[in-house]
């Protein structure tokens, strides 16, 4: 515990001028230019603020619905408007509130918990957040002019196909989801690379805070779950716009394909929301118990187990679709198994509370935690009931399920979120919220919640289905519905008191102490715009408890990187498992490019949704150009040499290849792309099982002769060789050559040509994508490869431009490496695609 058995990295006194320099470097832009800021503390606040705004707006829609349902045969709302607002309520809560809110907490809390100066890709976060804010607001505003989607948040086909949902309403749903897909994937990249590569020296994975663990698993789950819904939304929009019949039974498609894709995402989504919230609880409980968490390792195993199991139970949303009994049994068992990791967590928290030093402290954050435990337990139990297939036959799509998932989601996510507001507020804003008002907030919300949602279990059992805008008065539902409505208003009153408390605190509260709860983790170290003055050497899970002098040492700059040796924004990159310092990452500061890219990306999708094509394309071009401008300033090269961070450690200020953070980000993206592709292969095989009669050669024109795919294959291999050679022939630093960029461009052209040949070959046989599901899938393969080829085309052009201007060489090579890694993946995907498209019908037919 004393300084003697633990030598400080920078024991000598430091100059205060270093602090001034850090403040200058990390300063946020003043006035309205604050919108160009990228500091995680600023954009994190914007992110959580926007997510909370969506919570309030979607909550207002819920109150409208509860008002309509308060009495039978009410005509307060029209049928059409009700159908719109329940769709927007669900979509907003799931996509625009819950996922972004936990991602926002990741953006705000992770760098602080990991004592990093910022996330590894600050502008990427800012880009994703702005696209989400603009796109989300436009999506939500559709309720004001009768353009809102009305197919339910799950948008089942064929109800959402053009035939049954003409008009742009459904497209707005697809648009809203598009934004959250972008921001979720961007967030996953940040969080994976952030938690694995920007931890403080010494913080091995086994010492990582549980919240960081939960965010890491959250990000991994996004990587595998979101691609299924991305593919689903692509297929649905393509069927709506161009008539490729993926979901139309009469043409060999299947409406259930949508349900599989949607729930393969949708079920993990619930845990994507819950795991980080559980992670937050695992941070608050030990603090209030003044002791480390009991069962840290078990909790990590439980988090990983939940993530893993959650991919094995999507079918439990489809128990009533008539799938075979054997599958029902498997998914029923899997749905029950996922209760075990939740049980481990609940009992870990209870054990930690029991073992607290003195009594477990009861204050507003811990009240919300206890409320969470109670509500989540009930939600978990009804979850087990709906996992029993026969019980689900009765309660599926009734108010029983409405009650169940609000217990799980409000209990499992909103209550921990409010605990988080009260707990981490001092860290984020330097002010405390009021304990006295906090009690009101908690009791109003807790009572209101249970009054609103508990009766719904009975309403559902008495036969009331979900998503009905009205009901007759003689079925025994009246009183229950009235009680639920009253409860909803009580809950809302709690949220209003919170808003009052929040504004009171921001305007009038006095500054809070650095570590008001006496917590043990790094986010409570003294920090400023630049995060911590110096990055601590971590030797335990609760460094602040185990080394009481740590805050003072950090503030005085006695730990790593107490200054800004490169003269710009930077933080330490460490190894993924043991957190040994590897290099200094130089990070970009405030800028316009990412902001313009975000706004025009949003505009591109919006204009496409309302079918204003030419301006949409112009906006797309502006967005891509802005991205290129933004990327041009990255990849600084090794010009700053090595710098000293303390304890005699000298680190390079540049890295390329597998140790660089940017390579890791690319690998994350490739995981996303391959999950998307696997979802496509699943769709292909699934529709073949459902409708083998439309497959070539019997139900569709025979495949083109083998020479066609062989030529595509040869082109792909030639292109891969060209890219490989281009990498080998990169010029020495300070020189240029024409061969390497030439090969790079040739490689990109080979890929485009291979895809063009694949399309032409099928076109020549007379196969058309609108004819049947088989044709649609054949061309979809090329669409997916074409999408990658488009990205590679732009990245190659970018690398060529870097080479021509002397910014790409054997050492400074990240722009090329990223393009090459993606190329190798795209080539592999195309080869697999050729085998599937040209091989499978020959084997199966």
């Amino acid at each position: 515990m004393s300084n003697a058995n633990h030598k400080l990295p920078n024991p000598e006194p430091r100059s205060e001028r270093e602090v001034d320099e850090l403040l200058r470097i990390w300063a946020t832009p003043k006035g309205w230019r604050i919108i160009t800021a990228v500091n995680n503390t600023v954009i994190g606040l914007l992110y959580i603020g926007a997510a909370f705004l969506f919570f309030l707006m979607a909550g207002a829609l819920a109150l409208l619905m509860r008002t309509q349902l308060a009495v039978p045969e009410n005509d307060f709302l029209s049928q059409d408007f009700y159908n719109q607002i329940f769709t927007v309520h669900g979509t907003t809560m799931m996509f625009l509130f819950a996922v972004p809110a936990v991602e926002a907490l990741g953006v705000m809390l992770l760098p602080q918990m990991l004592a990093a100066r910022d996330l590894p890709f600050p502008r990427l976060s800012a880009f994703a957040i702005w696209a989400y804010v603009v796109g989300g607001l436009v999506f939500f505003s559709t309720v004001f002019y009768d353009l809102a989607p009305k197919g339910g948040w799950f948008m089942y086909t064929p109800l959402t196909l053009k035939e049954f949902s003409p008009g742009d309403n459904a497209d707005f749903w697809l648009l809203g989801i598009g934004f959250i897909e972008i921001s979720a994937i961007a967030g996953a990249v940040e969080i994976v690379v952030g938690t694995l590569r920007t931890r403080p020296p010494g913080m091995s994975l086994t010492k990582m805070p549980i919240f960081a663990w939960s965010m890491l698993i959250f990000a991994a789950m996004i990587m595998f779950a979101f691609p299924a819904v991305i593919l689903g939304t692509m297929l649905l929009e393509i069927e709506r716009s161009f008539g490729w019949p993926f979901f139309t039974a009469a043409k060999g498609g299947d409406p259930l394909l949508w349900q599989h894709l949607f729930w393969f995402f949708g079920h993990p989504e619930v845990y994507i929301i819950f795991l980080p919230a559980a992670g937050l609880v695992s941070m608050i409980v030990p603090t209030m118990a003044r002791r480390p968490l009991i069962g840290y390792r078990l909790i990590v195993v439980a988090l990983i187990g939940t993530g893993f199991f959650s991919f094995g139970l999507w079918v439990h949303h489809m128990f009533t679709t008539g799938i075979p009994t054997l599958s029902l049994a498997f998914f029923s068992a899997a749905s029950m198994a996922v209760a075990i990791p939740s049980g481990i967590q609940v009992f870990s928290w209870i054990a930690t509370m029991a073992a607290s030093k003195g009594r477990f402290r009861i204050n507003t954050p811990s009240l919300f935690v206890i409320g969470f435990l109670v509500i989540f337990t009930i939600g978990g139990m009804t979850g087990i009931m709906v996992a029993l297939v026969p019980v689900d036959f009765q309660v599926h799509d009734t108010y029983f399920v409405v009650a169940h998932f609000h217990y799980v989601l409000i209990g499992g996510m909103v209550f921990p979120l409010f605990a988080t507001f009260y707990y981490w507020m001092p860290m984020a804003t330097g002010k405390l919220l009021s304990e006295a008002l906090g009690r009101w907030v908690f009791w109003l919300m807790f009572a209101g919640f249970n009054i609103a949602f508990f009766p719904m279990h009975v309403t559902g059992l008495r036969g009331m289905p979900r998503r009905v805008w009205t009901y007759p008065g003689d079925l025994g539902w009246d009183a229950l519905n009235m009680v639920s409505t009253v409860g909803a208003y009580i809950f809302a009153a709690g949220v209003l008191v919170f808003l009052f408390d929040l504004s009171r605190s921001l305007l009038y509260a006095k500054a809070a102490p650095d570590n008001p709860w006496g917590a043990g983790t790094l986010e409570w170290l003294p920090n400023d715009l630049y995060a911590m003055r110096s990055i601590p050497f971590v030797t335990s899970r609760e460094p602040v408890w185990d080394r009481p002098s740590l805050p003072e040492e950090v503030r005085a700059g006695h730990h790593f990187l107490p200054n800004a040796p490169t003269g710009g924004r930077e933080t330490i990159v460490t190894s993924a498992v043991e957190a040994e310092p590897q290099y200094i990452i130089q990070m970009p500061g405030p800028g316009w490019a990412h902001l313009i890219a975000a706004v025009f990306t949003a505009a591109f999708f919006l204009l496409l949704t309302v079918k204003i094509v030419v301006p949409a394309i112009i906006c797309g071009i502006v967005a891509i150009t802005a991205c290129l401008v933004w990327a041009w300033g990255l990849d600084p090269g090794p010009s700053k040499g090595e710098v000293e961070i303390g304890a005699g450690i000298r680190l390079p200020t540049y890295a390329s290849g597998p140790s660089s953070h940017s390579w890791w980000a690319m690998i994350v993206l490739i995981f996303v792309a391959s999950s998307l592709y696997i979802a496509y292969v699943f769709s292909y095989l699934y529709l073949w099982v459902v409708s083998p009669d439309v497959w070539a050669p019997l139900g569709s024109p025979a495949l083109p002769p083998p020479a066609w795919p062989a030529a595509s294959l040869l082109l792909t291999l030639a292109g891969t060789a060209a890219i490989w050679l281009a990498g080998r022939l990169l010029p020495a630093p300070g020189t240029r050559n024409a061969v390497s960029p030439g090969l790079n461009a040739a490689g990109a052209l080979c890929l485009v040509a291979a895809i063009a040949l694949e399309i032409l070959g099928h076109w020549g046989t007379g196969l058309r994508p609108t004819e049947n599901a088989y044709g649609a899938l054949v061309y979809m393969q090329s669409a997916l490869s074409g999408q990658l080829a488009f990205a590679i085309f732009i990245m190659s052009g970018f690398a060529v431009a870097r080479a021509v201007t002397g910014r790409l060489d054997r050492v400074r090579r990240v722009s090329f490496d990223n393009c090459a890694v993606l190329y190798y993946y795209a080539a592999l995907q195309l080869v697999v695609g050729l085998l599937l498209i040209h091989g499978f019908p020959r084997v199966a037919g």
Partner: protein, 330 residues
Amino acid sequence: MTWHARIASLGGMLPILAGCGGVQSALETTGREAADIYFLFIVATALSIAITLLVLVLLVVVLWGPSKWRDRLGSDRVVIGGGVVLPIVLLSLLLGYGLFVLDAGASRTAHAKDDGITIVGKRWWWEVAYATADGEQVVSANELRLPVGRPVTLHLESDNVIHSFWAPQLAGKLDMIPGRTNSLVVEATEPGVSRGQCAEYCGGAHALMAFFIIAMPPDEYDAWLQEEAAPARAPETGIAQRGQALFLENGCGACHTVRGTQAGGTIGPDLTHVGSRRSLAAATLPNDAEAFARWIKDNQHIKPENLMPPYENLEPDDLTAIAAYLEGLD
């Protein structure tokens, strides 16, 4: 006391669920499948309440209990015992029972040999076609008649969007999906009337897509089916005869069938015996002349977005005549 009865009496201990009547309640069963599910539900509920109480008691103890108790609870063993052992044991048992009930239902469906009743989900009503012994289809709508004590296979289909057939007192729900036929065997255990409703959101008037189930003694059912198979009764009163003429003149037959007349449309419900049904517009209105008249004139307000155009220009006299004709089709 049989084990079923014992479990049922356990249900009686749960005051909130006891006596939860209502013609659409899954807690008041009049069918074999629903009864099996109900017992499973009671067992699962009792278990859930027990575990919830356990967690609540533990919470109270760890927050306010004596320190000796708290010391004992603050250990890894509690996490393993409560988080791993307890759920594995209880959930395995519950899963076994659940699969047993599931399998029983599935095997009844697999072994059913009757011709059954085909129910097609429409926007937003139900077409119900009974297969008679001589292989004929008797088409009706928005009402399901069942013989008590005789298992009947329901073939569930849709030619538009996805619907879900749910008659809570009889059985669990099963979806109606375009391109597929899902089958479900139901067996009414006592005569009486209950209500069902579409459970899968199907757009527009989903909330107003309900139906009645009428379980009757088997011999009454057979007699009823024979009558239902017959063509429509010819109108007898003058007003009804005028109503029939107006019905045909206004083109109602383009969408509706009245067997025995030229009206042969298949877009809307078959009206051959519409007067004998318990409700109009998929359990949205009572079945009387006044409701017929309101429906024809004002159906877009009664059931917004339904696919029948409103006949706002019909003279009141004509409307009354058509209503009289339709009401007489029993």
